[in-house]
Amino acid sequence: MSELTLAQALNRALDTALSSDDRVILLGEDIGRAGGVFRITDGLRQKHGERRVYDTPVAESGIAGAAFGLAVGGMRPVAEIQFMGFSYPAYDQIINHISRIRNRSAHRFSAPLVIRIPYGGGIGAAEHHSESMEAIYAHIPGLKVVVPSTPRDAKGLLLAAIEDPDPVIVLEPIRLYRAVKEEVPDIYYTEDIGPVRLERSGSDVTLISWGAMMKETRRAANALQSQGVSVEVLDVRTLSPLDRSGISSSVKKTGRAVIVHEAPLTGGFGGEVAASIQERCLYELLAPVQRVTGWDTIFPLKRSEAHYLPSVDRIVDAATRTLEG
């Protein structure tokens, strides 16, 4: 066990993967010499060599497409896209090739690869550096999408993603990279892709979130709890495949749900979660499922960031509304 930040846990996961599986190679912009803009690959090129950790040209479609080829050719590539806002040039490769080769070849070929994408705001970054467009990935058949929010999950889910026989997008919450430390096993271990993690049990309302917004969600849970509300908290962790039964069994119990995400409301993945809840639990619902999300705007620049990010107050407020409903 070591006390690690989420960033360090990811670094350890990659280190472990490189050590334990010769087929694993890393590629991405500035991940070699510089160790990545967030230092997630720090030291890995020095330790594992130039033939395991590759700097690439600035060409995201090329990175994803090369990773596809590497995977088809028998490797286990782990690509880094520098920020989610720069992942869109790779979208065509992801949806049209990476997610489809198993289907197109009726299982003859597959693309077991990982694309790591730092996402989300909260660090006052430049334009395009704070995106939360997980919904556009979670909608792609043939792809899996995970979003860890704790150091322990980060290592376990990343290793599971690398092991997975199908392509996995790993979304890394930028503002949680160094926010907390947690005891993380030093050994190789995986966390199952799929199941939500019940983070706190309660009976009045279920708070449902993932990734970066877990921080505000946990704080809101504390605030509500101190007001005497019994709160259940779910960390969804995997957006695709979505653990609908895990979510609905909680909401069946509490009768109330608040979904929290940072992406804009309209078309955000919270819509899927809310739709699934009412499909499965309508008769148990005591109030409408609430969504606390980013506004229907582009993520703003630094001076307006606080206007955009869902606050603890907004979550508490929404939960309170479900209790009044």
Binding site: I25, R51, Y54, T56, P57, A59, S61, G62, G65, A66, A67, F68, G69, L70, A71, V72, G73, G74, M75, P77, P89, D92, Q93, N96, H97, I101, R102, N103, R104, S105, A106, H107, R108, F109, S110, P141, G142, K144, P165, D166, G194, S240, P241, L242, D243, R244, S245
Partner: protein, 339 residues
């Protein structure tokens, strides 16, 4: 432009391939053309989904395919059935794909060919990644990727060329310049004199070859393949050829090209010149041609029968192809499905 056999069957210089090999290449082109002819007929009868004819491009495809080792890779397009077949893709699977059946993409494990790419431009980088993987694994396989003139306008062409050059992957880029991207002539697609000229911007070797000349294409590709295999990195080959038929069966070339142009290219037919060459050498007879035709038709007929006899693809199969193990959502959808 590098060429060896003139349209009239005379040779530019002594052929570096044997008569036996030339006969074999000819036989393959005949077989490929039979596939094309059959596919066109089936399409008209509504038995195929869509079909993109390669008539006129047999030399480029069969010549390039002949330059490969049986374990080399091919990453090609919807128009490359002849090339894919030359690299080991069975006609029956190619045909199954055209009927609209994903099982057509389930290649035998001994064959290193990807199912044809339908998107224009996206697949070339795959050939770079695979070649990279082969080198990392310490193998000396080469990856050939084929694409059209139109594909060179896509950003993905640029990124693939650059990655191949930067990482010195054993990739051969074969551009079949057949004059058009659907209706858009190559003369408008780019202001570069040739497609081959684009190689230098990547510090890559570029060669231009008569793509209707099977010997020239073979020789040029063989050189590129040898260089790649020996660690000399990638090459761009522009094979100049012509799409004799419509783009696909949904297209009407009358809207954008003159019949006279097509007629001119008819004279440069890739099969004709080899027949003439062999005839002059006393290696072609009408009987042999009849034999080739009959055998080709039979082989293609068998492929058609096989493809059309495939059982109806089931609903569950469709859902089961998404992942190695279906997700809960897919299992639920299989259970609850009212189709």
């Amino acid at each position: 432009m590098f060429s060896l056999i003139n349209p009239d069957g005379s040779v530019v210089e002594r052929l570096p391939i044997s008569v036996q090999e030339t006969r074999e290449l000819y036989a393959q082109m005949v077989e490929a053309r039979a596939y094309d002819r059959k596919s066109m007929a089936m399409q008209r009868q509504g038995r195929l989904a869509t079909y993109a004819s390669f008539r006129g491009q047999e030399a480029a495809q069969i010549g390039a395919g002949a330059a490969l080792r049986s374990d080399d890779w091919v990453v090609a397009t919807y128009r490359d059935a002849a090339l894919n077949w030359a690299a080991g893709y069975p006609w029956r699977l190619l045909m199954a794909g055209r009927t609209g059946d994903e099982r057509g993409g389930r290649l035998p494990t001994s064959v290193n060919v990807l199912p044809p790419s339908i998107t224009v431009g996206g697949h070339m980088i795959h050939a770079v990644g695979i070649a990279w993987a082969e080198r990392l694994a310490g193998r000396d396989r080469v990856v050939l990727t084929s694409f059209g003139d139109g594909a060179t306008s896509e950003g993905d062409f640029h990124e693939a060329m650059n990655f191949a050059a930067v990482y010195e992957t054993p990739t051969v880029f074969l551009c079949q310049n057949n004059g058009y991207a659907i209706s858009y002539p190559v003369s408008e697609q780019t202001r570069a004199e040739t497609i081959a000229a684009k190689a230098s911007g990547y510090g890559m070797e570029g060669v231009r070859v008569d793509g209707n000349d099977v010997a020239a294409t073979l020789v040029a590709t063989r050189e590129a393949v040898a260089r790649a295999r020996e660690g000399g990195g990638p090459t761009l080959i522009e094979a100049v050829t012509y799409r004799m038929a419509a783009h696909t069966t949904a297209d009407d070339p009358g809207r954008y090209r003159e019949d006279s142009e097509t007629e001119m290219w008819e004279e440069r037919d890739p099969l004709l010149r080899v027949r003439l060459l062999l005839e002059k050498a006393g290696e072609w007879t009408e009987e042999w041609q009849a034999e080739l035709d009959t055998r080709a038709e039979q082989v293609i007929e068998e492929a058609v029968e096989w493809a059309e006899a495939l059982p109806e693809p089931s609903f569950d199969e469709m859902l089961n192809r998404m992942y190695l193990e279906p997700t809960d959502a897919l299992l639920e959808q299989m259970d609850g499905a009212v189709e």
